[in-house]
């Protein structure tokens, strides 16, 4: 075996000589401690290596072992419910092996080599199969049927396939390819993380990804297969929004990448997800989730790799025809890891010290999202939605990472600290955010929720925008100068903000809001508004309208449990009755 020699160590960067047979992005093992690293640059026979573990104690002259393989993830049954670090080492196994702290040089495969799975064939001997076809299935969890696919670039006839209880590494089928080679297929496949997995065709997005968060689903929806970013200063609730999406998004598989963030946040997910029930299936959320946790104090190079590890796993489930959602929190930490490596390589910096290729890397990453016709002859449709949090310094949106991200993503949920200070959560600004998917989704929304819903949200948005303008006036000359109509706009806007947009992630009921409930809630608020307009025209005073006790019930309507739509109807009737009484009172007085 060829052995290189270390000539330089600077933080996570190690340079080794005698590396003429290494390839860019090959994995190497550094020193006798066998620290994992990746070749990122070659000059003559010298290779620059980013090391995924701490490099303290390494010295010049120590060996570097080549593996000849690119950085890859292991794919197969057992991914769901796992928690990995940035280079797909299972953190639970690491704890069993070395204790509470992550020491160096630990090598544990991503998928268990001892766990047995029941493989059920879906094809028979003699069948012709192409890449991406489903060979058989494994019940991975109660929620996920794992489809074992013919690996990319293999086409031919099934020569052997058997139902059995086996390890991921056991042969479950043999395929005789067109050129007469026999390929042994096991449930385990490997895929290099930096290369997108192949697909047949990319489709336009046309279906919303329901997230259970009213401000998102109503005003700034993301499609299945869409991309979104959440920039915001610290304390504005990026992570809570990401957690909420991971919990309630109606995706079949969720991959959550904690990239350079807090350790306790990952622990929170780990403790909470097995307890929370998926609103669609009633099973624990963990049964559809893969976690990748490379916290801020874990090695910086592995942080760089973590988003790739995550998206490759997500693509693998997409290839099975699932709707997958990936949350990356936070992409800024990933960009910073790139910056750190770039600095150590002494590259010429671009903006703010970030490497000049920052934009390209970000664009490449988000382009791996989409709605796809997957490989295979059965025309499976899979979708991969990607939501990335961005943490710009000081919340400044001119930050290069934000700007590079906004150039590629279609949805922008701008978090505002001003809203967070008022404890308006989710602190997504309704004035600055946008979703470019709305035109694609209109047909779907109209068919499923009716024209009235689209009208209502358009009107609601107009009211909110009008409020922002009126607020300027109020700030200058006071509320009294406003006309009754304008006062009503202010009142309704307040109701939309507080009773609809504001959503408590920590309330058992309010944390998730189905499309159906959301539609009813908006209907109720707009119903009040319509009747109030009518009442104003009938000489009812705005103060009487504003102090109607029924408004308290509207404010509490968001706490009505799911599937109790008749309660909303009852409330609507009460609203109608309240206004009738008001109008009658005015008639009597005049």
């Amino acid at each position: 075996m060829e052995v290189g020699r270390i000539v330089k160590i600077a933080g996570p960067l190690v340079v080794a000589s005698n590396m003429q047979n290494a390839k860019i992005y090959d994995v190497v093992r550094v020193s006798e401690k066998k620290l994992m690293g990746e070749v990122i640059e070659m000059r003559g026979d010298e290779a620059s290596i980013q090391v995924y573990e701490e490099t303290g104690g390494l010295g010049v002259g120590e060996p570097v072992y080549l593996t000849g393989q690119p950085l890859s993830v292991e794919l197969g049954p057992g991914l769901i419910e796992s928690i990995y670090d940035g280079i797909q080492r299972p953190l639970d196994e690491i704890r069993l092996k070395v204790g509470d702290l992550i020491t160096r040089g630990i090598a544990i495969p991503g998928l268990s080599r001892v766990k047995r799975w029941n493989f059920n064939p879906a094809v028979q001997v003699g069948d012709s199969v192409v890449e991406g076809d489903i060979l058989g299935i494994v019940d991975e969890t109660v929620l996920v049927v794992h489809r074992i696919m013919v690996p990319p670039r293999i086409n031919g006839k099934v020569k052997m396939i058997e139902r059995k209880e086996c390890l991921v590494t056991d042969t479950i089928a043999v395929i005789e390819t067109e050129n007469g080679r026999e390929e042994e297929i096991s449930m385990l496949t490997k895929w290099p993380v930096r290369r997108p997995r192949p697909y047949k065709e990319k489709l336009a997005p046309d279906e919303p990804l329901s997230t259970g968060q009213r401000v998102i689903d109503a005003f700034f929806p993301i499609s299945k297969g869409g991309t979104a970013c959440i920039p915001g200063p610290f304390g504005s609730g990026k992570t809570v929004v990401q957690h909420q999406l991971a919990k309630w998004a109606d995706a079949q598989i969720v991959v959550y990448v904690g990239c350079g963030e807090r350790g306790n946040e990952m622990t929170d997910v780990l403790i909470e997800f097995p307890k929370l029930k998926d609103p669609h299936s009633g099973e624990p959320l963990m049964k559809r989730t893969v976690l990748i946790a490379n916290t801020s104090n874990m090695p910086v190079a592995a942080r760089e790799a973590s988003v790739y590890t995550g998206i490759t796993i997500a693509e693998y489930y997409r290839d099975m025809g699932y709707s997958v959602a990936l949350m990356a929190d936070s992409t800024s930490r990933w960009a910073e890891a790139m910056r750190e490596m770039s600095g150590r390589l002494e590259e010429m910096p671009g903006e703010e010290g970030y490497p000049a290729y920052l934009g390209t890397r970000i664009a490449e990453f988000y382009e791996r999202a989409g709605k796809f016709v997957c490989l295979g002859s059965d025309g499976k449709i899979g979708a991969l939605s990607v939501v990335g949090a961005v943490s710009p310094p000081g919340g400044d949106l001119s930050d290069p990472v934000v700007q590079a991200t906004l150039r590629v993503v279609k949805v922008f949920w701008g978090l505002e600290d001003k809203l967070a200070y008022k404890r308006h959560f989710p602190a997504i600004s309704w004035l600055n955010s946008y979703s470019l998917y709305i035109p694609n989704l209109t047909d779907y929304l109209e068919t499923n929720y009716g024209r009235e819903w689209l009208d209502n949200i358009n009107r609601a948005m107009a009211i909110l925008q009008e409020e922002a303008e009126l607020e300027e006036i109020v700030r200058l000359v006071g509320l009294d100068v406003l006309s009754p109509d304008a006062r009503l706009i202010m009142e309704t806007a307040k109701s939309i903000r507080e009773d609809f947009l504001h959503q408590n992630a920590f309330d058992e009921i309010d944390t998730y809001s189905s499309f159906e409930k959301m539609v009813k809630l908006m209907e109720l608020i707009m119903h009040f508004h319509d009747l109030a307009e009518d009442a104003l025209n009938n000489n009812v005073s705005i103060l009487d309208i504003a102090s109607l006790p029924i408004r308290e019930d509207i404010a509490r309507a968001k706490f009505i449990p799911e599937n109790k739509e008749d309660e909303f109807e009852k409330l609507k009737e009460s609203v109608t009755k309240s206004f009738q009484e008001l109008k009658e009172k005015v008639l009597v007085e005049t």
């Binding site: 600077a10 010295g59 702290l101 916290t295 104090n297 010290g353 404890r423 000359v477 920590f506």
Partner: protein
């Protein structure tokens, strides 16, 4: 056999370049002998073929390129620990400076400990009562949390930190707790203030101090917090103690880091701070927490003075991105004589939700703090309006909130330096202050709690209908 080199090529800033070195290790500790026999310590920053870049802790004054000797100690920096470190004072390199006896080490620990496996962590959820209403009621601190104080020069952060040390307790437990105090580049008076306060209250017996004063070598500030946290980890995870770590002042720490980075001619990030400042700060802050099946815990209160009170300054900004919330002190409140001058709206404890409620504080806690925040925010808006337009321009409702904001600051936020409020007092005070608001406006409170806790609720409802 330790090899000795006298092949120094360059000395610049806090750095020294040595040539023709064999077998030097990255991050290894080195000893430097000056021509007059003085010994100094350093650390390997980079190894490039036979050249080694060394960072000197005590500066380069008096170092000669030709007559200075360098010895590589083939180990990283370590701290000697045993239970006897309690009550002792160390310098920024972990050497006792209180004239006490040498520590007989039970263990020698690497000061850069390995990261805690997120899978091994236990989620912080035990309420720590600090006796401050603004913290307990609104920005609840829990065991294992890292909650910094964002202060400015001249603000009473030291007074607050000392009061927290005095009053902090987890109720209903008699568990052992300890304080680890790391001073980085603070003045002698400031350090003395803490030490005297600890002595007065007897806390000194349970305290380990690591002191690097403003006059001490700046580069030592890089190791000071790491030594302190190594001591804290030993006490927490091996001695089963609950440790409160105070790190002051993180701004000085970051400046020392910048000094080294500038000397190495690295590509600077914002404001000249190195691009890896986030990662570096994380390696300090993330050492707080709890570990499953371990009794002890580490709670961190780092203090930093924001240059120009600017929260977007890289030090405050990156800290906020790593820590679990922040207590922001406001100069405007301080000027109005409010102690503690906590800017309630900008402060936040991210872990409060798991540390409050029935069985921890009280069932109504979440609703009360949500409502207090919302009402105070509205009161401040009204105050803004009043500044521009005068009180006459306020609507009746605005006037109620305007008054509420005033009494909230005077009675809820402000308290005496010796006043140790328990959580029931804080919550009841919140209810009392809210009782001036109309019940229609108490949208964030569940009706059953209003009935139970709101003073005069029955009469109010009667009056409304």
């Amino acid at each position: 056999m330790i090899k000795e080199y006298n092949t120094i090529k360059e000395v610049a800033g806090p750095l020294m370049l040595v040539e023709q070195v064999e077998g030097a290790k990255y991050e290894e500790l080195v000893e430097i002998e000056l021509p007059d026999g003085e010994l100094r310590n350093g650390r390997v920053l980079e190894v490039n073929r036979d050249q080694v870049l060394i960072q000197l802790f005590e500066g380069v004054t008096g170092v000669n390129v030709f007559n200075t000797k360098v010895r590589f100690k083939s180990k990283g920096m370590e701290l000697d620990v045993s239970k006897d470190i309690l009550g002792r004072v160390f310098d920024g390199q972990g050497r006792p400076i209180d004239k006490g006896p040498k520590i007989i080490p039970e263990k020698r620990l690497d000061i850069n400990s390995s990261p805690i496996n997120p899978y091994a962590r236990n989620y912080p959820s035990e309420f720590i009562q600090t006796g401050f209403s603004t913290i307990d009621g609104l920005n609840t601190l829990v065991r294992g949390q890292k909650l910094p104080i964002f202060s400015g020069s001249g603000l009473p952060h030291a007074k607050m930190a000392a009061q927290i040390v005095r009053q902090a307790k987890v109720r209903g437990t008699g568990e052992e707790f300890a304080v680890v105090f790391a001073a980085m580049g603070i003045t002698f008076e400031e350090a003395l203030y803490f030490i005297q306060d600890f002595q007065k209250t007897g806390a000194i017996e349970r305290t380990v101090l690591f002191v690097n004063l403003a006059s001490d070598p700046a580069i030592e500030r890089i190791t000071t917090p790491r030594l302190a946290l190594t001591a804290a980890e030993y006490l927490a995870f091996e001695m089963d103690m609950h440790v409160l770590v105070i790190l002051t002042d993180m701004t000085n720490y970051c400046e020392a880091l910048r000094e080294v980075s500038a000397a190495r001619q690295e590509v600077p990030g914002r404001r000249g701070y190195p691009g890896y400042l986030y990662t570096d700060l994380a390696s300090i802050y993330e050492r707080a927490g709890r570990i499953r099946e371990k009794k002890g815990s580490i709670t961190q209160i780092p203090i930093l003075t924001m240059p120009e009170d600017d929260k977007t300054h890289p030090i405050a900004d990156l800290t906020g991105y790593i820590t679990e919330g922040q207590i922001v002190l406001s100069r405007a409140m301080h000027r109005r004589g409010i102690y503690p001058p906590v800017d309630v709206l900008q402060s936040l404890s991210r872990l409060k939700d798991k540390g409050i409620g029935e069985g921890k504080t009280r069932e109504d806690h979440a609703d009360v703090f949500n409502q207090l925040f919302a009402a105070y925010a509205r009161g401040l808006e009204a105050r803004e309006l009043e500044v521009i337009l005068g009180e006459a321009a306020l609507s009746d409702m605005d006037r109620i909130f305007y008054k509420f904001a005033g009494s909230f600051e005077k009675r809820y936020i402000a308290q005496d330096e010796s006043e140790d409020r328990d959580i029931e007092f804080t919550l009841d005070l919140g209810w009392e202050l809210m009782s001036v608001l109309p019940t229609v406006e108490l949208k964030r409170i569940r009706p059953e709690f209003m009935e139970k806790y709101l003073p005069g609720f029955k009469e109010k409802v009667g009056a409304n209908s």
